[in-house]
């Protein structure tokens, strides 16, 4: 471990940029705002690269570099330092956050050009980058929680960026409230860990062996936080609505970085999660169900950003499947590749929306390939990547997750309480099957999205003339598309990487020793199903999804008619999927309305009646009544006073004398 004194520059630079944009950005030219915001993130990226070179060097380079910024607070047993740790996991994420973050800042210069809230936008975006970097770099749970809340705040601010629109500001509020539910769990989890160990720092916690019940409780509570932040069942509902924010925000916060914080947290706390095998299984199941659920909804959405949003939820489900099967490296490597191709997809959709003057409905798109060739090509590359088609990065990272699920040993040793041991060997293959089916759906809805948007004939109104975006927007698209392709070298399977002499840079090799192994041991060879068959299956489902999408959505009017006829055969399912499986409506019934009723009861009865009426005004009235009664004695008649005094003294003397 190497102690340095410059690591704090990484989150501090964007923070300073945020302060500049937020405090004086209003009164300086727009070019100054973008210059400061962009250079802050770029400088942060360069410091990140410097730091990364320290740890990524060959033999003898330190495993992590650390900076103790200052002792934050110390209360009783609890003492928290603001420390930053950059190891191979957080270092890579720093590069992704600042790198992709810079590209998205650059893209925003073109996208937000006309917006009156330009300075405000860049202040929030810089603040987000600073908070995300703190989340990733923090060397203890409290620092991580500060970043965790910071990104939540920025997410809220940016979703409701156009707050004059009630629906958008409501979406921001929804995201905030749903995240609060998760954060509550996270906080309790931190308390449980502190109560059990007396420390919150990752370094100390990783050396502690916890009792099974404590480990399970803490791990499950922290995972509740992850379901909120990373949009998993049952708390995923805020992410589709978060698309109300500007599209670059959706790309940066709601696809590439913030929503993966939960996956990062589970991977960072792998030492805790391997001590709670039951919770790991729960994570894998939740992740898989989320992936399937969101993919089903995504097949029937008409809004291009909604498709991508559900796709993000679904891909996050894959990541949780990865970490849940104890394959932390697989989950995090999908996190990395997903950051590139999903950011590219979102920015592409932003370019489309920008070029169509705010149109988001895919039914009024089509044929845009001719008008926006750069956007179409980069979108195509990212689509191939996300569908898991050879040879792009998404194929290997998704297949690694599915392969690990199929062969995992994490479920052969499940126990929530000491003594009991349940073996669920069938669970891994089951999750693999569901995940593979989800991959088919993924391929289908992404190709559907691509074909409806870019192929066929233009179906929008005639007075809208689609146009390609300026270079500040297409350049990030190409860089991200390029990264979606080359990221495959870090996710190559070991055998292949070995042959190509690229083994040392594969993610699995790079993060060796960073994550703990699950209690059931590493993934084993699955005798009945050789690896090559798993690859073939993955490729086959991707191609089947593609063929189906081509048949319905890239076959002209004939295909559209076929799609209509097919949908007409399942009218109820179709309607349910279009309405997002009525989850929002169900939540509205079960949680929101009772909560509103409860809140109204608290307001009308407890607050207005008991607190205001009975306690506050009641105290005043009691004093006033007592005063009105006591006032009667003050009649101003001196002789009455004298009489009362005399009688009083007489009584007093009498009592004193008789009591002797």
């Amino acid at each position: 471990m190497l102690e340095v004194n410059w690591l704090h520059l990484i989150p501090l630079l964007p923070l300073a940029g945020a302060a500049f944009c937020g405090l004086v950005g209003r009164w300086v030219p727009k070019s100054w705002v973008s210059a400061v915001a962009l250079s802050a993130v770029l400088l942060s990226f360069l410091v990140g690269v410097t730091a990364f070179r320290e740890i990524a060097g060959g033999e003898g380079s330190p495993l992590q570099i650390h900076e103790l910024v200052y002792s934050w607070f110390s209360v009783g047993r609890l003492s928290v330092d603001l420390g930053l740790t950059l190891d191979r996991l957080s270092g890579t994420l720093v590069l992704v956050i600042t790198g992709v973050g810079f590209l998205i800042h650059l893209y925003s210069v073109g996208y937000m050009d006309e917006d009156p809230g330009y300075w405000r936008y860049f202040a929030y975006l810089n603040l987000f980058v600073a908070a995300m970097l703190l989340l990733v770099l923090g060397d203890n749970l409290v620092a991580m929680f500060v970043g965790w809340e910071g990104v939540g705040l920025c997410s809220y601010l940016l979703i409701g960026f156009w707050f004059e629109d009630d629906a958008k500001s409501y979406a921001g509020r929804k995201a905030f409230v749903v995240n609060r539910i998760g954060d509550f769990g996270f906080l309790i989890g931190v308390f449980v860990l502190f109560q059990a160990t007396g420390t919150v720092s990752f370094a100390s916690l990783s050396g502690v062996a916890l009792p099974l019940a404590t480990a399970s409780a803490a791990a499950a509570l922290l995972f509740v936080g992850a379901t909120g932040k990373s949009a998993q069942l049952p708390l995923y509902v805020w992410l589709p609505d978060a698309m109300a924010g500007p599209t670059p925000v959706s790309a940066l916060i709601h696809a590439a970085t913030m929503v993966t914080a939960g996956v990062y947290m589970v991977a960072r706390l792998s030492f805790l999660y391997v001590q709670a095998p039951g919770v790991l299984a729960l994570i894998a199941v939740v992740g898989t169900l989320t992936a399937l659920w969101a993919a089903l909804i995504a097949t029937s959405q008409q809004d291009i950003k909604k498709v991508l949003a559900y796709s993000t939820v679904s891909q996050l489900g894959y990541m949780f499947l990865g970490v849940g099967t104890g394959a932390f490296f697989a989950g995090t490597e999908h996190l990395l590749t997903h950051a590139f191709f999903k950011a590219c997809l979102f920015l592409g959709s932003g370019a489309v929306i920008h070029g169509l003057h705010g149109e988001q409905d895919m039914r009024r798109m089509g044929g845009l390939k001719r008008h926006m060739p750069h956007t179409a090509r980069t979108f195509l590359i990212a689509t191939i990547a996300i569908t898991g088609t050879l040879p792009l990065s998404g194929f290997f990272s998704k297949d690694e997750i599915l392969g690990q699920a199929l062969r995992t040993s994490a479920f052969s040793f499940l126990s929530l309480t000491p003594g009991s041991s349940i073996t669920l060997t069938f669970l891994g293959p089951l999750l693999w099957a569901v995940g593979t089916f989800t991959a088919l759906l993924t391929s289908f809805y992404m190709w559907r999205c691509y074909y409806l948007t870019f192929e066929g004939e233009y179906r929008g109104p005639a007075d809208v003339h689609p146009h390609e975006s300026p270079w500040t927007m297409t350049l990030p698209l190409w860089v991200l598309a390029f990264l979606s392709i080359v990221a495959l070298v870090i996710v190559l399977p070991p055998e292949l990487a070995h042959k190509l002499h690229l083994e040392s840079i594969t993610w699995k090799h790079f993060t060796e020793g960073l994550f703990r192994a699950a209690r059931g041991g590493p993934a084993r060879e699955f005798a009945y199903f050789p690896e090559i068959a798993a690859y073939a299956t993955a490729l086959a489902v991707a191609l089947v999804g593609w063929r189906v999408a081509v048949r319905y959505f890239n076959a002209g009017p004939q295909g559209a008619a076929r799609a209509q006829a097919f949908a007409a055969r399942f009218p109820r399912l179709r309607r349910a999927l279009e309405n997002k499986l009525y989850v929002d409506e169900i939540y509205e019934r079960i949680f929101v309305r009772p909560l509103w009723a409860f809140a109204r009861w608290l307001w009308r009865i407890v607050d207005a009646w008991i607190i205001d009426g009975l306690l506050v005004n009641g105290t005043g009235k009691a004093v006033a009544t007592a005063g009105a009664w006591a006032r009667k004695f003050q009649n101003g008649n001196v002789q009455r006073y004298a009489a009362v005094t005399a009688v009083g003294i007489a009584l007093l003397v009498f009592v004193l004398l008789t009591r002797g």
Partner: protein
């Protein structure tokens, strides 16, 4: 034989008369006079116990023994004189503003 009880009963009657005057009479000047009556009832009590002490004397000097009660009486007379001066001044000032010496009229501190 006249003993201390006779004096004390007389003092009590005087005190009661004074107190009744203070409480019952409406004329402020009479009220002041009644207060003087009560003070003099107290003086009489002092003198009684000066003449008929309850405890064995601390000193054999008869003059010194009797002077204790007398000294208190002189104080009371001095205070009573001052009080009468102030009281009468207040009554005159009140009379000037209210054209009355009836204590029932002086109730502006009511409620």
């Amino acid at each position: 034989m006249v003993g201390p009880v006779h004096y004390l009963v007389l003092a009590a009657i005087l005190f009661a008369l004074g107190a009744a005057g203070v409480v019952l009479r409406r004329n402020a000047i009479i009220v002041l006079m009644s207060i003087e009556l009560m003070l003099n009832a107290v003086n009489l009590t002092f003198l009684t116990f000066s003449r008929f002490p309850l405890l064995p004397a601390a000193t054999d000097n008869l003059g010194a023994r009797m002077m204790q009660g007398h000294a208190a009486v002189f104080f009371v007379i001095a205070v009573a004189a001052a009080e009468a001066a102030v009281g009468l001044a207040i009554v005159i000032a009140a009379f000037r503003s209210r054209r009355s010496v009836n204590v029932d009229d002086f109730d502006s501190l009511r409620n």
